[in-house]
Protein backbone atom coordinates (compact mmCIF):
# COMPACT_ATOMS: atom_id res chain seq x y z
CA UNK A 1 0.00 0.00 0.00
CA UNK A 2 2.76 2.41 0.99
CA UNK A 3 4.58 1.56 -2.19
CA UNK A 4 1.51 2.30 -4.29
CA UNK A 5 0.96 5.62 -2.55
CA UNK A 6 4.56 6.65 -2.94
CA UNK A 7 4.53 5.61 -6.56
CA UNK A 8 1.46 7.75 -7.23
CA UNK A 9 3.06 10.66 -5.40
CA UNK A 10 6.16 10.37 -7.54
CA UNK A 11 4.07 10.18 -10.68
CA UNK A 12 5.57 6.91 -11.79
CA UNK A 13 3.55 5.70 -14.75
CA UNK A 14 2.88 2.13 -15.61
CA UNK A 15 4.94 1.67 -18.71
CA UNK A 16 5.73 -0.84 -21.36
CA UNK A 17 9.40 -0.75 -20.43
CA UNK A 18 11.27 -3.79 -19.28
CA UNK A 19 11.08 -2.37 -15.80
CA UNK A 20 7.40 -2.04 -15.05
CA UNK A 21 5.36 -0.64 -12.21
CA UNK A 22 5.27 -4.02 -10.53
CA UNK A 23 9.05 -4.02 -10.30
CA UNK A 24 9.01 -0.56 -8.79
CA UNK A 25 6.49 -1.75 -6.22
CA UNK A 26 8.68 -4.68 -5.43
CA UNK A 27 11.68 -2.41 -5.03
CA UNK A 28 9.80 -0.17 -2.59
CA UNK A 29 8.76 -3.20 -0.58
CA UNK A 30 12.32 -4.47 -0.54
CA UNK A 31 13.72 -1.15 0.67
CA UNK A 32 10.96 -0.70 3.25
CA UNK A 33 12.49 -3.76 4.88
CA UNK A 34 16.01 -2.31 5.08
CA UNK A 35 16.68 -1.04 8.59
CA UNK A 36 18.93 1.91 9.29
CA UNK A 37 22.25 0.37 10.44
CA UNK A 38 22.55 2.72 13.44
CA UNK A 39 18.86 2.86 14.41
CA UNK A 40 17.42 -0.46 13.26
CA UNK A 41 13.98 0.39 14.63
CA UNK A 42 13.30 2.52 11.54
CA UNK A 43 13.76 1.75 7.85
CA UNK A 44 15.73 3.77 5.36
CA UNK A 45 12.46 4.52 3.54
CA UNK A 46 10.89 5.92 6.72
CA UNK A 47 13.98 8.06 7.31
CA UNK A 48 13.56 9.59 3.87
CA UNK A 49 16.93 8.36 2.66
CA UNK A 50 15.33 6.72 -0.39
CA UNK A 51 14.06 9.67 -2.32
CA UNK A 52 12.65 8.02 -5.42
CA UNK A 53 12.56 4.82 -7.40
CA UNK A 54 12.16 5.44 -11.08
CA UNK A 55 12.79 4.13 -14.53
CA UNK A 56 15.45 5.67 -16.69
CA UNK A 57 15.62 4.25 -20.19
CA UNK A 58 15.11 0.61 -19.37
CA UNK A 59 16.77 0.35 -15.99
CA UNK A 60 15.67 0.92 -12.44
CA UNK A 61 17.18 3.89 -10.66
CA UNK A 62 17.16 4.38 -6.89
CA UNK A 63 17.68 7.98 -5.79
CA UNK A 64 19.34 8.06 -2.40
CA UNK A 65 19.91 11.13 -0.23
CA UNK A 66 22.64 10.71 2.37
CA UNK A 67 21.98 12.07 5.85
CA UNK A 68 25.10 13.58 7.45
CA UNK A 69 28.10 14.01 5.13
CA UNK A 70 30.27 11.94 7.44
CA UNK A 71 27.73 9.34 8.46
CA UNK A 72 29.70 6.07 8.58
CA UNK A 73 26.48 4.14 7.85
CA UNK A 74 26.18 5.52 4.31
CA UNK A 75 28.24 2.83 2.63
CA UNK A 76 26.52 0.09 4.61
CA UNK A 77 23.17 1.49 3.51
CA UNK A 78 24.23 1.38 -0.14
CA UNK A 79 25.27 -2.26 0.20
CA UNK A 80 22.08 -3.14 2.10
CA UNK A 81 20.03 -1.60 -0.71
CA UNK A 82 21.80 -3.74 -3.29
CA UNK A 83 21.37 -6.87 -1.19
CA UNK A 84 17.66 -6.24 -0.51
CA UNK A 85 16.98 -5.67 -4.21
CA UNK A 86 18.94 -8.75 -5.21
CA UNK A 87 16.89 -10.84 -2.77
CA UNK A 88 13.77 -9.76 -4.65
CA UNK A 89 15.31 -10.59 -7.97
CA UNK A 90 16.23 -7.03 -8.96
CA UNK A 91 19.87 -7.15 -9.92
CA UNK A 92 20.51 -4.29 -12.32
CA UNK A 93 19.33 -1.26 -10.36
CA UNK A 94 21.48 1.84 -10.38
CA UNK A 95 21.88 3.78 -7.13
CA UNK A 96 22.25 7.51 -7.62
CA UNK A 97 23.31 9.82 -4.78
CA UNK A 98 21.28 13.02 -4.67
CA UNK A 99 22.76 15.83 -2.57
CA UNK A 100 20.07 18.40 -3.35
CA UNK A 101 17.76 19.19 -1.82
CA UNK A 102 19.81 18.21 1.19
CA UNK A 103 18.38 15.60 3.52
CA UNK A 104 16.42 16.98 6.43
CA UNK A 105 14.94 15.33 9.52
CA UNK A 106 11.59 16.73 8.31
CA UNK A 107 11.62 13.79 5.88
CA UNK A 108 11.26 11.27 8.70
CA UNK A 109 7.81 9.68 8.63
CA UNK A 110 5.48 10.48 11.62
CA UNK A 111 5.10 6.78 12.38
CA UNK A 112 8.88 6.43 12.51
CA UNK A 113 9.11 9.39 14.91
CA UNK A 114 6.66 7.65 17.22
CA UNK A 115 8.74 4.48 17.14
CA UNK A 116 11.93 6.44 17.80
CA UNK A 117 10.36 7.73 21.02
CA UNK A 118 9.36 4.22 22.06
CA UNK A 119 12.92 3.14 21.38
CA UNK A 120 14.18 5.82 23.79
CA UNK A 121 15.25 8.46 21.26
CA UNK A 122 13.43 11.79 21.42
CA UNK A 123 12.34 12.52 17.82
CA UNK A 124 13.46 15.74 16.11
CA UNK A 125 11.44 18.94 16.12
CA UNK A 126 10.78 20.69 12.84
CA UNK A 127 14.12 21.80 11.38
CA UNK A 128 13.74 25.57 11.57
CA UNK A 129 16.57 27.54 10.04
CA UNK A 130 19.00 28.64 12.70
CA UNK A 131 18.82 32.39 12.73
CA UNK A 132 21.59 33.45 15.09
CA UNK A 133 24.66 32.61 13.03
CA UNK A 134 27.03 33.75 15.73
CA UNK A 135 25.88 30.87 17.91
CA UNK A 136 25.78 32.93 21.11
CA UNK A 137 24.55 31.05 24.19
CA UNK A 138 23.06 28.24 22.14
CA UNK A 139 22.37 25.88 25.00
CA UNK A 140 19.89 28.28 26.56
CA UNK A 141 17.93 28.78 23.34
CA UNK A 142 17.23 25.17 22.53
CA UNK A 143 13.57 24.19 22.41
CA UNK A 144 12.23 21.97 25.15
CA UNK A 145 12.63 18.27 24.46
CA UNK A 146 10.29 15.78 26.16
CA UNK A 147 11.97 12.86 27.90
CA UNK A 148 11.18 9.73 25.85
CA UNK A 149 10.94 7.66 29.03
CA UNK A 150 8.80 9.71 31.44
CA UNK A 151 7.54 12.50 29.11
CA UNK A 152 8.83 15.19 31.50
CA UNK A 153 9.70 18.53 29.92
CA UNK A 154 12.33 19.18 32.60
CA UNK A 155 15.24 18.06 30.44
CA UNK A 156 18.49 19.65 29.40
CA UNK A 157 21.17 19.15 26.80
CA UNK A 158 24.45 17.69 27.98
CA UNK A 159 26.08 17.93 24.56
CA UNK A 160 24.84 18.75 21.09
CA UNK A 161 27.00 15.92 19.82
CA UNK A 162 25.96 12.51 21.07
CA UNK A 163 26.62 8.87 20.29
CA UNK A 164 26.27 9.46 16.54
CA UNK A 165 26.46 12.55 14.32
CA UNK A 166 22.66 12.76 14.14
CA UNK A 167 21.99 12.75 17.88
CA UNK A 168 22.41 15.10 20.82
CA UNK A 169 22.94 13.89 24.38
CA UNK A 170 20.25 14.95 26.89
CA UNK A 171 19.40 14.33 30.52
CA UNK A 172 16.02 14.25 32.22
CA UNK A 173 15.84 16.11 35.55
CA UNK A 174 12.79 14.12 36.70
CA UNK A 175 13.62 10.48 35.99
CA UNK A 176 17.35 11.34 35.93
CA UNK A 177 17.90 9.13 32.88
CA UNK A 178 20.17 10.18 30.03
CA UNK A 179 18.69 9.96 26.54
CA UNK A 180 19.40 10.71 22.89
CA UNK A 181 17.67 13.48 20.97
CA UNK A 182 17.58 13.19 17.20
CA UNK A 183 18.84 16.64 16.18
CA UNK A 184 16.75 18.64 13.72
CA UNK A 185 18.77 19.08 10.53
Amino acid sequence: MVATMLRRELGVERSANLVDAETIDRAWQALAGVPDPEIPIVSIVELGIVRAIRVEDTSLVIDVTPTYSGCPATETIMNDIRDALAERGIANARIVTRLAPAWTTDRIAPEAKRRLREFGIAPPHVAAPRIDVTGISPLRRIVAVACPRCASMRTRPVSQFGSTACKAHYRCDDCLEPFDYFKPL
Partner: protein
Amino acid sequence: MNEPSPLFDYVLRFADSDLVLAQRLGEWVGHGPALEEDIALTNVGLDLLGQARLWFAYAGEVEAQSHGRGRSEDELAFLRDGSAFRNLLLSEQPNGNYADTMARQFYFDQWHMLVLGSLSSSRDPRIAEIAAKARKEVAYHIERSADWVIRLGDGTEESHQKMQAALDYLWTYTGEMFAPDNVELALIETGVAADVRALREPWLANIGRVLDVATLALPTVAWMQGSNGRGGKQGVHSEHLGHMLAEMQFLQRAYPGSQW
Protein backbone atom coordinates in the same frame (compact mmCIF):
# COMPACT_ATOMS: atom_id res chain seq x y z
CA MET B 1 51.22 17.06 -16.84
CA ASN B 2 49.16 20.12 -17.73
CA GLU B 3 48.43 22.80 -15.19
CA PRO B 4 45.52 21.90 -12.94
CA SER B 5 42.34 23.75 -13.83
CA PRO B 6 41.38 26.71 -11.62
CA LEU B 7 38.16 24.97 -10.65
CA PHE B 8 40.06 21.86 -9.52
CA ASP B 9 42.38 24.05 -7.47
CA TYR B 10 39.47 25.94 -5.94
CA VAL B 11 37.49 22.84 -4.97
CA LEU B 12 40.63 21.32 -3.43
CA ARG B 13 40.93 24.28 -1.06
CA PHE B 14 37.70 23.27 0.63
CA ALA B 15 38.49 19.56 0.49
CA ASP B 16 41.92 20.09 2.02
CA SER B 17 40.85 22.53 4.73
CA ASP B 18 38.12 20.12 5.83
CA LEU B 19 40.42 17.10 5.70
CA VAL B 20 43.32 18.72 7.55
CA LEU B 21 41.10 20.14 10.28
CA ALA B 22 39.29 16.79 10.62
CA GLN B 23 42.65 15.10 11.08
CA ARG B 24 43.63 17.65 13.74
CA LEU B 25 40.37 17.07 15.61
CA GLY B 26 40.96 13.33 15.30
CA GLU B 27 44.20 13.79 17.22
CA TRP B 28 42.07 14.62 20.27
CA VAL B 29 40.38 11.20 20.27
CA GLY B 30 40.96 9.66 23.66
CA HIS B 31 42.47 12.89 25.00
CA GLY B 32 39.42 15.14 25.35
CA PRO B 33 39.00 16.84 28.76
CA ALA B 34 35.71 14.98 29.27
CA LEU B 35 33.95 12.11 27.56
CA GLU B 36 31.30 14.40 26.05
CA GLU B 37 34.02 16.65 24.67
CA ASP B 38 35.90 13.75 23.18
CA ILE B 39 32.74 12.61 21.39
CA ALA B 40 31.78 16.10 20.28
CA LEU B 41 35.18 16.86 18.76
CA THR B 42 35.14 13.56 16.95
CA ASN B 43 31.66 14.27 15.61
CA VAL B 44 32.67 17.66 14.26
CA GLY B 45 35.75 16.04 12.73
CA LEU B 46 33.57 13.36 11.17
CA ASP B 47 31.27 15.97 9.60
CA LEU B 48 34.32 17.73 8.14
CA LEU B 49 35.75 14.48 6.84
CA GLY B 50 32.44 13.69 5.15
CA GLN B 51 32.39 17.14 3.59
CA ALA B 52 35.99 16.69 2.48
CA ARG B 53 34.99 13.51 0.68
CA LEU B 54 32.21 15.31 -1.20
CA TRP B 55 34.70 17.97 -2.32
CA PHE B 56 37.41 15.43 -3.22
CA ALA B 57 34.95 13.39 -5.27
CA TYR B 58 34.01 16.51 -7.21
CA ALA B 59 37.64 17.58 -7.61
CA GLY B 60 38.39 14.16 -9.10
CA GLU B 61 35.56 14.58 -11.61
CA VAL B 62 36.75 18.06 -12.56
CA GLU B 63 40.24 16.68 -13.05
CA ALA B 64 38.91 13.89 -15.24
CA GLN B 65 37.22 16.42 -17.48
CA SER B 66 40.37 18.45 -18.07
CA HIS B 67 43.02 15.73 -17.87
CA GLY B 68 41.29 12.56 -19.02
CA ARG B 69 41.76 10.86 -15.69
CA GLY B 70 40.75 12.10 -12.27
CA ARG B 71 42.29 10.97 -9.03
CA SER B 72 40.20 9.14 -6.44
CA GLU B 73 39.39 10.57 -3.02
CA ASP B 74 42.08 8.41 -1.45
CA GLU B 75 44.74 9.34 -4.01
CA LEU B 76 44.08 13.02 -3.43
CA ALA B 77 44.13 12.68 0.34
CA PHE B 78 47.03 10.28 0.80
CA LEU B 79 49.34 10.60 -2.19
CA ARG B 80 49.95 14.32 -2.52
CA ASP B 81 52.88 16.11 -0.93
CA GLY B 82 52.49 19.12 1.32
CA SER B 83 53.07 21.69 -1.40
CA ALA B 84 50.10 20.28 -3.34
CA PHE B 85 47.77 20.84 -0.41
CA ARG B 86 45.53 23.90 -0.68
CA ASN B 87 44.18 24.11 2.87
CA LEU B 88 44.04 27.28 4.92
CA LEU B 89 47.03 27.79 7.20
CA LEU B 90 44.62 28.07 10.12
CA SER B 91 43.37 24.51 9.67
CA GLU B 92 46.85 22.96 10.00
CA GLN B 93 47.87 24.74 13.20
CA PRO B 94 48.56 22.30 16.06
CA ASN B 95 45.93 21.52 18.68
CA GLY B 96 47.82 23.18 21.56
CA ASN B 97 45.66 23.41 24.67
CA TYR B 98 41.86 23.32 24.60
CA ALA B 99 41.60 27.08 24.18
CA ASP B 100 43.91 26.89 21.14
CA THR B 101 41.77 24.16 19.59
CA MET B 102 38.59 26.11 20.26
CA ALA B 103 39.98 29.42 18.97
CA ARG B 104 41.02 27.69 15.74
CA GLN B 105 37.58 26.10 15.46
CA PHE B 106 35.81 29.37 16.28
CA TYR B 107 37.60 31.40 13.58
CA PHE B 108 37.17 28.56 11.10
CA ASP B 109 33.48 27.82 11.81
CA GLN B 110 32.53 31.49 11.59
CA TRP B 111 34.28 31.76 8.20
CA HIS B 112 32.94 28.38 7.06
CA MET B 113 29.34 29.34 7.78
CA LEU B 114 29.60 32.52 5.73
CA VAL B 115 31.53 31.05 2.83
CA LEU B 116 29.19 28.05 2.54
CA GLY B 117 26.22 30.41 2.63
CA SER B 118 27.71 32.31 -0.28
CA LEU B 119 28.61 29.13 -2.18
CA SER B 120 25.05 27.84 -1.80
CA SER B 121 24.18 30.15 -4.67
CA SER B 122 27.27 29.37 -6.76
CA ARG B 123 26.69 29.14 -10.52
CA ASP B 124 28.37 25.73 -10.32
CA PRO B 125 25.45 23.49 -9.30
CA ARG B 126 27.61 20.82 -7.67
CA ILE B 127 29.40 23.39 -5.50
CA ALA B 128 26.02 24.84 -4.54
CA GLU B 129 24.68 21.41 -3.56
CA ILE B 130 27.66 20.46 -1.42
CA ALA B 131 27.71 23.88 0.26
CA ALA B 132 24.00 23.84 1.09
CA LYS B 133 24.32 20.42 2.64
CA ALA B 134 27.52 21.18 4.57
CA ARG B 135 26.12 24.44 5.90
CA LYS B 136 23.37 22.65 7.83
CA GLU B 137 26.02 20.65 9.66
CA VAL B 138 28.22 23.67 10.29
CA ALA B 139 25.26 25.37 11.99
CA TYR B 140 25.88 22.95 14.87
CA HIS B 141 29.66 23.44 14.79
CA ILE B 142 29.33 27.20 15.07
CA GLU B 143 27.13 26.97 18.16
CA ARG B 144 29.59 24.70 19.86
CA SER B 145 32.76 26.67 19.23
CA ALA B 146 31.08 29.98 20.13
CA ASP B 147 29.79 28.42 23.32
CA TRP B 148 33.29 27.30 24.30
CA VAL B 149 34.82 30.69 23.55
CA ILE B 150 32.24 32.19 25.89
CA ARG B 151 32.67 29.57 28.60
CA LEU B 152 36.44 29.86 28.66
CA GLY B 153 36.52 33.64 28.13
CA ASP B 154 33.94 34.35 30.80
CA GLY B 155 35.24 31.60 33.06
CA THR B 156 38.13 31.69 35.49
CA GLU B 157 41.02 34.11 35.37
CA GLU B 158 43.22 31.38 33.94
CA SER B 159 40.76 30.18 31.30
CA HIS B 160 40.16 33.78 30.26
CA GLN B 161 43.87 34.40 29.88
CA LYS B 162 44.39 31.20 27.86
CA MET B 163 41.45 31.89 25.58
CA GLN B 164 42.67 35.42 24.87
CA ALA B 165 46.20 34.16 24.21
CA ALA B 166 44.85 31.56 21.79
CA LEU B 167 42.77 34.12 19.90
CA ASP B 168 45.77 36.45 19.67
CA TYR B 169 48.14 33.70 18.53
CA LEU B 170 45.90 32.38 15.74
CA TRP B 171 44.69 35.77 14.59
CA THR B 172 47.31 36.30 11.89
CA TYR B 173 46.21 33.05 10.20
CA THR B 174 42.75 34.46 9.50
CA GLY B 175 43.83 36.97 6.84
CA GLU B 176 44.08 34.60 3.88
CA MET B 177 40.50 33.46 4.42
CA PHE B 178 39.36 36.80 3.04
CA ALA B 179 42.15 37.52 0.54
CA PRO B 180 41.34 36.06 -2.89
CA ASP B 181 44.21 35.23 -5.26
CA ASN B 182 44.03 35.12 -9.05
CA VAL B 183 42.49 31.64 -9.12
CA GLU B 184 39.69 32.84 -6.87
CA LEU B 185 39.24 36.21 -8.56
CA ALA B 186 38.67 34.60 -11.95
CA LEU B 187 36.08 32.25 -10.46
CA ILE B 188 34.42 35.06 -8.52
CA GLU B 189 34.08 36.85 -11.85
CA THR B 190 32.10 33.94 -13.30
CA GLY B 191 29.93 33.51 -10.20
CA VAL B 192 31.45 30.16 -9.25
CA ALA B 193 33.54 31.17 -6.23
CA ALA B 194 32.47 32.97 -3.07
CA ASP B 195 33.57 36.59 -2.97
CA VAL B 196 35.35 36.33 0.35
CA ARG B 197 36.23 40.04 0.34
CA ALA B 198 32.58 40.75 1.14
CA LEU B 199 32.58 38.27 4.02
CA ARG B 200 35.23 39.86 6.21
CA GLU B 201 32.95 42.55 7.62
CA PRO B 202 30.13 40.18 8.63
CA TRP B 203 32.75 37.77 10.02
CA LEU B 204 34.28 40.52 12.16
CA ALA B 205 30.85 41.62 13.35
CA ASN B 206 29.82 38.08 14.28
CA ILE B 207 32.98 37.13 16.13
CA GLY B 208 32.92 40.57 17.79
CA ARG B 209 29.50 39.84 19.25
CA VAL B 210 30.67 36.53 20.67
CA LEU B 211 33.87 38.04 22.08
CA ASP B 212 31.84 40.78 23.78
CA VAL B 213 29.77 38.20 25.63
CA ALA B 214 32.95 36.27 26.39
CA THR B 215 34.60 39.41 27.85
CA LEU B 216 37.45 38.91 25.37
CA ALA B 217 39.14 41.44 23.12
CA LEU B 218 39.27 41.29 19.35
CA PRO B 219 42.93 41.12 18.30
CA THR B 220 44.14 44.22 16.50
CA VAL B 221 47.29 43.12 14.68
CA ALA B 222 46.98 44.12 11.03
CA TRP B 223 49.75 41.99 9.52
CA MET B 224 48.51 38.65 8.25
CA GLN B 225 50.19 35.36 7.31
CA GLY B 226 49.93 34.28 3.69
CA SER B 227 47.80 37.17 2.51
CA ASN B 228 50.40 38.23 -0.08
CA GLY B 229 49.46 35.31 -2.33
CA ARG B 230 51.91 32.94 -0.64
CA GLY B 231 49.82 31.04 1.86
CA GLY B 232 48.03 27.76 2.35
CA LYS B 233 45.76 28.25 -0.63
CA GLN B 234 48.85 28.44 -2.85
CA GLY B 235 50.56 25.48 -1.21
CA VAL B 236 52.99 27.50 0.92
CA HIS B 237 52.45 25.98 4.34
CA SER B 238 53.69 26.29 7.89
CA GLU B 239 56.07 23.59 9.09
CA HIS B 240 53.23 21.82 10.89
CA LEU B 241 51.53 20.40 7.79
CA GLY B 242 54.39 18.11 6.79
CA HIS B 243 54.52 16.49 10.20
CA MET B 244 50.79 15.94 10.14
CA LEU B 245 50.86 14.43 6.65
CA ALA B 246 53.72 12.12 7.60
CA GLU B 247 51.42 10.51 10.11
CA MET B 248 48.18 10.75 8.12
CA GLN B 249 49.64 9.38 4.89
CA PHE B 250 52.01 6.80 6.37
CA LEU B 251 49.91 3.73 5.67
CA GLN B 252 49.20 4.45 2.00
CA ARG B 253 52.81 5.49 1.42
CA ALA B 254 54.26 2.39 3.06
CA TYR B 255 51.65 -0.04 1.74
CA PRO B 256 50.37 1.49 -1.50
CA GLY B 257 46.81 0.62 -2.43
CA SER B 258 46.06 -1.31 0.75
CA GLN B 259 42.42 -1.34 1.75
CA TRP B 260 40.34 -2.19 4.81
